[in-house]
């Protein structure tokens, strides 16, 4: 291979490019505010790494109401016979008990605030429309995109900004050999980045 085979489709006509997008416009809280340009804090973390798999995190794209970041799921090489992304995007759906026989295949990701509050992808709220907005923080996977089995990006939206102090990113993927790991950063720069977010149109109302 002459070039890094991450994020590059060899030919535009290759059909291995897949992406899925959930709705990104909804009630306040369900996604990043659409009429703001974020303040960016360059965070680049390796949350977990085994000989075969790794989970990276980049971000932070901060707004007055919350922040976004991206999980990078990496597989070192294709494992024949394995459904490598099974459970990665929490798509089990109705009728499947998440604590049942597939529980270990769920990729768990969450954030923990200094005041003890936390949010994980295990209680994603899909129905912001039908119920009152929950207490922050909440966490949703809003987009996932991949080019082949080896590299997938998952965009995460956290509604609610952390208080000052440590901000923890946690992940776990038992069936893939990734036991619970936590990486901590200082929430201060996240809050400063949120302060740098700007509205796109001067005449719009606050979020």
């Amino acid at each position: 291979m002459v070039w890094v085979r991450i994020g590059w489709c060899l030919h535009p006509s290759r059909r291995s490019c897949r992406s899925r997008r959930l709705r990104t416009v909804g009630p306040p809280g369900s996604s990043r505010p659409p009429t703001w340009s974020p303040g960016i804090l360059p965070v680049e973390l390796i949350l977990a790494r085994t000989p075969q798999r790794a989970i990276g995190l980049t971000g932070i794209r901060a707004y007055p109401t919350g922040f976004g970041c991206t999980l990078h799921l990496r597989l070192r090489e294709v494992i024949p016979g394995e459904q490598s992304n099974f459970g990665a995007f929490n798509m089990f759906g109705d009728g499947v008990d998440p604590a049942g026989e597939f529980a270990d295949y769920y990729l768990r990701f969450g954030v923990g605030f200094a005041d003890g509050r936390k949010a994980t992808n295990l209680n994603q709220r899909w129905d912001f429309d039908e119920s009152p907005a929950p207490d922050p923080p909440t966490l949703r996977l809003v987009r996932w995109e991949g080019y082949d089995l080896l590299a997938w990006e998952v965009d995460v939206w956290v509604w609610g900004l952390p208080p000052p102090g440590p901000l923890v990113f946690a992940c776990e993927w038992p069936a893939r050999g990734i036991s619970e790991t936590r990486v901590e950063i200082d929430a201060g720069p996240v809050l400063e980045a949120a302060g740098r977010a700007v509205p796109i149109w001067p005449d719009q109302t606050p979020p």
Partner: protein, 186 residues
């Protein structure tokens, strides 16, 4: 202490779409023994297949498929990305009594999801495809009367004139008679 706690299971909500928008769940359909070629040009073909009849209506699949020689061209033609090509393929059924249920959502009564509409009503359950072809699944609520039954398609994106195929509705009605419940009563 573990960061993650798996949520307690909530059983499926049990919501089902109304009975008039779907085939009866507890019946085995009668198969209508026809495969219909609605239209064929040098570049595309439109088919209706998998006709399955019940006492309450008829289920079938509408397929649009390009000629194999078109695939190479369509894969690279920026003026006709495949995902838009099937956007305006419409189907209309013509009954002997003059009814013309169609897949055009503009002809559906506004309350069709909550109030049972007058039959016939032509609904569709979903569609999908690629540059290799497109298919959609349809449910006709309300069987046709005896006499001619015509399937007509229109496809402005390919300049296909309205064209269709007529069958005898008795094929559908006889198949509907053959539908049986999965769990016999009594």
């Amino acid at each position: 202490m573990s960061f993650f706690a798996m949520p307690t299971w909530e059983p499926p909500s049990g919501y089902r779409i109304p009975a008039w928008l779907r085939p009866p769940e507890t019946m085995i359909p009668g198969i209508v023994p026809v495969e219909l070629l609605l239209a064929r040009t040098d570049t595309d073909a439109v088919l209706v297949t998998h006709l399955r009849a019940y006492p309450t209506g008829l289920e079938f699949i509408l397929t649009a498929r390009p000629h194999p020689d078109q695939l190479e061209q369509r894969g690279h033609d920026p003026d006709r990305p495949h995902r838009f090509l099937y956007h305006d393929l419409w189907l209309e059924l013509r009954f002997a009594d003059g009814h013309t249920p169609s897949t055009d959502p503009r002809s559906w009564p506004r309350t069709f999801e909550t109030e049972q509409p007058d039959p016939p009503f032509l609904y569709y359950h979903g569609s999908g495809g690629s540059e290799r072809g497109w298919h959609s699944t349809h449910w006709l609520w309300g069987l046709p009367p005896p006499g001619p039954l015509t399937f007509v398609c229109q496809w402005p994106a390919t300049q296909l004139p309205a064209s269709g195929v007529e069958i005898d509705a008795s094929l559908v009605l006889e198949a509907a008679d053959r539908a049986v419940p999965v769990w016999p009563t009594g």
